[in-house]
Amino acid sequence: MRGQDMYDVIIIGAGVSGCAIARELSRYEGNFCVLEKSEDVCCGTSKANSGIVHAGHDAKPGSMMAKMNVRGNFLMESLSKELDFPFKRNGSMVLCLEEDKKDKLTALYEQGIVNGVPGLQLLDGKKARELEPNISPDTVAAIYAPSGGIVCPFGLNIALAENACTNGVKFYFHTEVRELDREQDGWSVKTNNGEFQSRFVVNAAGVYADVLHNMVSEEKIHIVQRRGDYMLMDHAVGDYVSHTIFQLPDEKGKGVLVTPTTHGNLMVGPTAIDVEDKEGNQTTQEGLDQIREKAGRMVVNPPLWEVITSFAGLRAHEDGHEFIIGEVKDAPGFVDCAGIESPGLTSAPAIGEYVAGLLQEHFKWKKNPEFTGTRKGILNPGDLSPEERNQLIKENPSYGTIICRCENVTEGEIIDAINRPLGARTLDGIKRRTRAGMGRCQSGFCSPKTMEIMARELEISQTEICKSGPESFILKK
């Protein structure tokens, strides 16, 4: 058995939902751990999505999605300050491009009001274009949601995980759950990395949540991987729009959006293409063509010549299109957190609060006296005044060496990313924590230098360094 004794709660999955739950649980004096099959936190759905903090007008009134969305949106701002991750309330717009669809727009607006979305406004085409000059001249009306925002999805996920870790939650990586057995006082969780015992299990396994659920319950659920392809553009065009621009949603979801990111890039996507493979996150020509075409309908001449990368993520779409959150009826002690597709990222803080609340009702833990609710992110010297920056370099000269010239990331930041709680162990891990390699040259210049730093700090050979998964070696031995 792994760990010193029986856990109160094992969370399966270190994505944004799992880590949000872990962080909320860490407020209590319980014994918690997170099992993650990948090498790092934020490796599945949480790493490849729109990074949007949705206002909350899209979900059906009364649904879990609607409640979690509006609550998550409300919590995000204060959380971003407590845990120091990039968030901006840039406002969002839903465009109506055809006269005969205005009714649909009005209905969406009214749904937003019912869901409790604050500050919603209906604009005519002219007003909408005044607010956002580069939107399509065909815009006949728009919803403006001032509470819409953008968040760095890695930043949010990593911050939650680090804070949970600091407050005593254990994380096991490369640990894939193979079997779940109900025992007298809880669950036996069998993994490729040993057996774990726990009173409760939380299933936050993203696109695999149905597999786990169906191991323990007769009431089967089914998740389909709904792939979203994206294109990311250079900072040079990061201000092409200032709001997040949506079209009217269709049966497959909110459709393609055009948005600035918290780091000053411009992003377009996603598609919605259902795939069989739970790891099938490759982009396709069809997908990329769709984005080009759809983005071109929403904004005038989208600057796609500035694309620096394209990628795809998989949404965990459950057939009922609703968040499935709660204890499974025929599996006491097994709590689902399944079907967390959009607005899952927005909802994460609310999901964490809600699931931790459910568990606290059962366990009635005491408060964790050592809980620290704040966390400092990796210092970005670019945010300092020149005087402060010079002081920093004097104290720690590694902040004077730029490693990633595209994103101006210093050696000091990379060392911090490696050595902090749940530190980066892969090139992608460094990238998600510091942005080194995420810029316009896409790691061409910095990766050899980053690898050198990793080898030095981790006391390993450069030939052992992986991009992400355990077989993704950068170099050949």
Partner: protein, 421 residues
Amino acid sequence: MTQCDLVIIGGGPAGLAAAVAARKQGVEDILILERDGELGGILNQCIHNGFGLHTFSEELTGPEYAARFIEKVQEEAIPYKLHTMVLNITKEKTVTAMNREDGLFDIQAKAIVLAMGCRERPRGALNIPGYRPAGIFSAGTAQRLVNIEGFMPGREVVILGSGDIGLIMARRMTLKGAKVKVVAEVMPYSGGLKRNIVQCLDDYNIPLKLSHTVIDIQGKERLTGVTLAQVDENRRPVPGTEIQYKCDTLLLSVGLIPENELSKSAGIQIGSVTRGPVVNESLETSVEGIFACGNVLHVHDLVDYVSEEASMAGENAAHYIKNKEMYAARKEIPVNTGEGVRYTVPETLDIQRMRSNQTLRFRVGSVYTGAYVSVYLDDKRIQHKKRQVLAPGEMETVILKQEELQKYPKLQKITVRIEEE
């Protein structure tokens, strides 16, 4: 704030030649800022030979070529700072830079020479669909890993793009024991030098597939294969022409982009074709007293031409420092691109300031055999020279004579065009 007559940004071949030339013109106060750990730039990783035929009439390796200029910099005792990143420049010519020893610091320059070089176009910019595994490198990154760091990036290699670095790396990987299966080029012609195709591909029996591109990338962790397909005249894949290659490495040599983020911070106008600063005959950018040369200005085929151009920029910067008033009034005649010509450098020309023999460099847009390079002063053709072959991979030159241009006081425009029989 520290004052400096001439700040040179970049200590590669362009920056070094500019520094040496400026010193020869009597500029005492020069500072070279280099982001890497040694002078010489990308030449340091180009350990193959073929450099210097024009400049030194002998064949040198990249490091040897760089050493010739580094020695001159050291002989002239020109100061330089290594591991120093320039973070910003302004149109008032304040340079903000940073390193471990000095921290963040500002320098007020009288003149600046931009010599930051270029970067490689990454996979993302091409929108090649597929997975994103390890094993995809730009050719220059692979070159650094092999030649500087001493590592092998892969064993079974496909190369996309027949730019010079891709061709050189096809040979280099083969010599290091890798199997280079194919070089694919989306265009119907190679973007590299003819001599590199012969010496790097033909001599090693590496096939070059023109009008082909990668349409899919396989492998979730490390690359396991790529799919190539033929493309039509619009560069769209032709269905039914797919070929599957098993490989663990994909090298990309699909274009170089001048690194002008700093230039943009100073508000310098950037050309849409070269993606480098728009310059006049003095290689002066749209901001007075800021000059540009080498690959930051436009991507060169041979380093010899970089050195030649950079020497001009260095001399001009020296001239500017001493004769500032000559640069304030601009009476510049546009140099236009006619049929077949993608761009020219410089883009404008002042007859007063131009040299008696002014070099104008350009590239053509496709392959021509037996065509003429013509120069027009307004509608009058003054040059018409037959060339056996003109190719996009090779930079072309025409020389304009000051005394000839002085005969046309009302000259409105100069045009370079390619004329076929």
